[in-house]
Symmetry: C2
Subunit: 205 residues, 2 copies
């Protein structure tokens, strides 16, 4: 057995599986479509990953493992200004979401809500770093204090996530091609960084 070959085969399968699961979801995905995409035989899928469920679990877990660390960066580099930290976060997050489907995670969580709690136990403690960080900024009068940090969290994440998962609909509504939409999105992180910074500075109470 050649480790190289085996790895690349396994990776080819995982890559194909990821694409199919992302666009069709667990229920709509077909093992046949995955093996076609990976350019291998369907029986080989079962040779590598026994069942569809196990293969899906692998894809889902890996997606979540890539995703969660992004959310817990708010207590790093504390000497950095909050403006810079925010801007970096937005750029990193949006770049990430361009190649990692948030909609995939969301769809599967709604299909099977226990996926969320069971798969994120070890990360959960890190998830409220954002709120703590922004509460501190407010105490130190660095940002406005009249907006609940939870709202700020929701606003930032909505602005980052939705434009990428809703690209098809937005480009359709705005009557631009998906290429034009991608070009529009290239300038988007800059725009919302600036807007959010303006907003958070505004009217310090």
């Amino acid at each position: 057995m050649n480790v190289e070959t085996s790895l690349s085969t396994e990776e080819a399968i995982l890559e194909a599986a990821r694409k199919v699961f992302e666009s069709k979801g667990f229920d709509g995905a077909r093992m046949q479509e995955i093996s076609d995409r990976a350019r291998i035989n369907r029986a080989l899928l079962h040779y590598y990953f026994r069942t569809k469920a196990k293969m899906f679990e692998r894809i889902f877990d890996e997606a979540l493992e890539r995703f969660l660390p992004l959310l817990s960066t708010w207590d790093q580099d504390l000497e950095e200004s909050w403006e810079l930290k925010l801007k970096r976060f937005i750029i990193k997050f949006i770049t990430f979401l361009k190649t990692n489907s948030m909609l995939f995670l969301l769809r599967e969580i709604i299909r099977k809500p226990e996926l969320l709690a069971s798969k994120t136990e070890k990360h959960r403690k890190r998830l409220n770093k954002f709120v703590r960080y922004f509460d501190r900024l407010k105490q130190e009068r660095l940002i406005r204090s009249d907006v609940d940090s939870k709202y700020i969290y929701i606003i930032i994440h909505s602005l980052c996530s939705f434009p990428l998962m809703n690209g098809i609909v937005f480009s359709y509504s705005l009557r631009i091609s998906s290429k034009e939409y991608d070009e529009l999105m290239a300038g988007y992180p800059e725009i919302i960084s600036d807007l959010l910074i303006q907003l958070l500075k505004y009217q310090k109470n």
Copy 2:
């Protein structure tokens, strides 16, 4: 045949179908689950709607028909101030999204992209009213002119849509119950209306 009975049975089926399709998607939905929810026999589903596909189409079309009119209100009541218009839109949109799943539409559109174009032909012309309206506001120096109206469109829709479709994840990340999240959301339209108005007023170039 009693029209009353027949209608309420059909409605019971549609209501059940809607719930199941919304949480499981077309592929994950089971006719058995729908009939169980509607508390009727599975054979009766086929008596009312011949096939699963036809039933789904009905649900999808109705969801889209409820959704699209919301997007084309920007040329009504032109004497109203843009601030009030924006606020009204946000409240109406968010209220709507509390009982109408945007994620459902999005998931099915991604599964089968042609659904979008084929089902919205008659509405499409109305979809760019927003951009026209905001371009006019900019020309008249009523709002800042340094942000592309397409960005404004994306920002407003992201702020309205995502918090509702991502509720499960947000309440989990913020470590609050879904009840607390709902309470938080009660104040949300007011917050983002004010923030958006501040933003759009800011620095008129």
